[in-house]
């Protein structure tokens, strides 16, 4: 063994190198913790979270009752019923149920939607105390007001 590695070994250079790294990270500016309720993460625009149904400019639904989202869903968690309007002969969505408890937020439903009515929004605080609350109907999807943000 040549002398330099031996000296390095005796003087614990390898260990001191590691120690210096952990020591240098102690400053508060290196801290990565996000104190969640006070600091909230930046959510990307494309984030697939809370499902929403968007409304048109006059508050009318954009859904045309085509059932494509229900067909696209791998988990079959969208139940849609539609009727034909007797006057305009157009399909009109009557009931719409979205079961978030089984959703894996894959985004296939919003991709299937031809009118971009259904959208997975950026809401992410979806925890609830009951499973029943996870089954969202049309009213909730359309007029969802974001719950009071958690701040304790």
């Amino acid at each position: 063994m040549s002398i330099a590695p031996l000296l390095r070994k005796i003087f614990l250079v390898d260990l001191i190198k590691g120690l210096s790294i952990t020591f240098s990270y102690q400053g508060p500016k290196d801290c990565q913790t996000e104190q969640y309720p006070q600091e909230r993460p930046q959510i990307a625009d494309r984030f697939r979270g809370q499902p929403l149904m968007k409304l048109g400019e006059n508050g009318e639904t954009l859904c045309i009752g085509c059932n494509l989202c229900a067909l696209a869903c791998p988990e079959n968690l969208i139940t849609m019923k539609s009727d034909r309007d007797p006057v305009t002969k157009k399909k009109v969505m009557t009931t719409y149920v979205y079961d978030v408890s089984r959703c894996m937020f894959c985004g296939l439903c919003e991709e299937a939607c031809p009118t971009q009515s259904l959208k997975l929004g950026t809401g992410y605080e979806m925890a609830l105390y009951s499973r029943e609350g996870m089954v969202l109907d049309r009213e909730v999807l359309e007029h969802r007001t974001d719950p009071e943000p958690y701040d304790k």
Binding site: L15, K17, I21, Y25, Q32, A44, R46, P74, C106
Partner: protein, 381 residues
């Protein structure tokens, strides 16, 4: 989830003074370092391991059965749930396989986007591996450094496709998401950021005498054993076999970027560590090239809305961060796959555990499980 039948005949008799027997130690499925719900039954002589038996299946969700009951497009998000640490690679393999089945090729821009995301994912996967592996060997701090750096990758994923872990980033026929504004900048920023960080991991571990003692000569698996046991990925490369599917059978745009296949000679835990570290550096290199060469154009090929591949069967595999990830798809001409078989690298690699730890100590079992880089979601599917 078979019981310990192999060891059952080894009923421990009544102890007499100074009589020593083998001990059966049950490690897992609730154990801090079995990386999930792996159960290993160890036959011990003191601290020395005489044999192991893996009991798996605690996370079995029947992915292959689910595939038979979903359409080709609908099954796509499920593959992310196998190797959840490298979800992008899973999706890439599946999309490429179905594209091969329907004989469609993704447009070049999509190919490059796939390379970028897959390499980002490889870095993220290796970072998770490094953190947990170091944690198994007792160094708790690298875990936090690697997760900090992985966070940037996840942020890019979130901005690109809206999800962080189970990304569902690719669709059959290309990438449905166009790169967001500043995508290239983010990737390059990550490359600039992660290079020095890899040096930092190295100065924490590579030279450290404890790390060297714990990893050198531990869990040796030579090239012949690797081939016989079907072990692929960095484990195979650490044994000196210069084989990487990205080079051997290039897919996506891997034939248009330049990179090396890092290899090592001894096939021990330290070599696997060095190979993965070198792979991370290569991934950074691939990322820089891919961003530079990222062509303009469409990101989706023309794919029918209702996918009905012609009857036939194909096998396609890619180089996932853990090894060869293959999909064997049988189509009967309907909208749903007749059979999808996933060839999971973790499952096959885990088989080598017994070979690697025989005669070693308990502490080495933990190190070897870590170095195999298994993800139980993929082992059990």
């Amino acid at each position: 989830m078979s019981a310990t039948s192999e060891f059952k005949q080894l009923e421990i008799p009544e102890n007499t003074f100074l009589d020593s027997n083998e001990m059966i130690l049950n490690m897992g499925p609730q154990h801090p370092s079995t990386h999930g719900v792996l159960r290993v039954i160890l036959k011990l002589d003191g601290e020395k391991v005489l044999g192991t038996e893996c009991v798996i299946g605690y996370l079995h969700r029947g992915v292959e059965k689910i595939a038979e009951n979903r359409t080709y497009v609908q099954f796509n998000p499920y593959v992310d749930r196998m190797d959840y640490v490298a979800a992008v690679s899973n999706g890439l393999g599946y999309c490429e396989s179905v594209e091969k089945l329907i004989n469609v090729e993704a447009p070049p821009r999509a190919q490059f986007l796939r390379v970028i995301l897959a390499e980002l994912n490889r870095l993220a996967s290796h970072q998770v591996w490094l953190g947990t592996h170091a944690l198994d060997i007792g160094a708790i701090t690298p875990l936090f450094y690697t997760f900090r750096d992985r966070e940037m990758v996840l942020a890019i994923f979130e901005k690109y496709c809206g999800a962080r872990l189970t990304t569902h980033a690719f669709r059959i026929g290309g990438c449905i998401y166009e790169a967001y504004d500043g995508f290239e900048k983010d990737v390059i920023a990550y490359c600039d950021f992660v290079g020095p960080k890899i040096d930092e991991y190295e100065s924490l571990l590579t030279g450290n005498r404890i790390w060297i003692q714990r990893t050198k000569g531990v869990g040796i698996l030579n090239a012949a054993d690797c081939k016989a046991l079907g072990v692929t990925g960095p484990v195979l490369r650490a044994a000196g076999v210069k084989w990487d599917l990205r080079k051997a059978q290039p897919y996506a745009a891997y034939d248009q970027v330049e990179f090396d296949i890092p290899t090592a000679e001894n096939g021990d835990t330290f070599d696997r560590y060095m190979v993965r570290i070198a792979e991370m550096r290569q991934s950074v290199q691939i990322l820089r090239q891919a961003v530079e060469k990222l062509p303009a154009g469409p990101t989706m090929a023309k794919v029918p809305k209702v996918l009905k591949p012609p009857a036939g069967r194909i096998y396609h595999s890619i180089e996932a961060p853990k090894g060869e990830l293959g999909y064997f798809i049988v189509s009967d001409g309907s909208t749903q796959p007749y059979r999808v078989r996933v060839r999971p690298p973790s499952f096959v690699n885990l088989q080598a555990l017994d070979k690697m730890v025989r005669g070693a100590l308990i502490a080495d079992v933990v190190a070897v499980i870590g170095t195999l880089d298994i993800v139980l979601g993929e082992v059990d599917r």
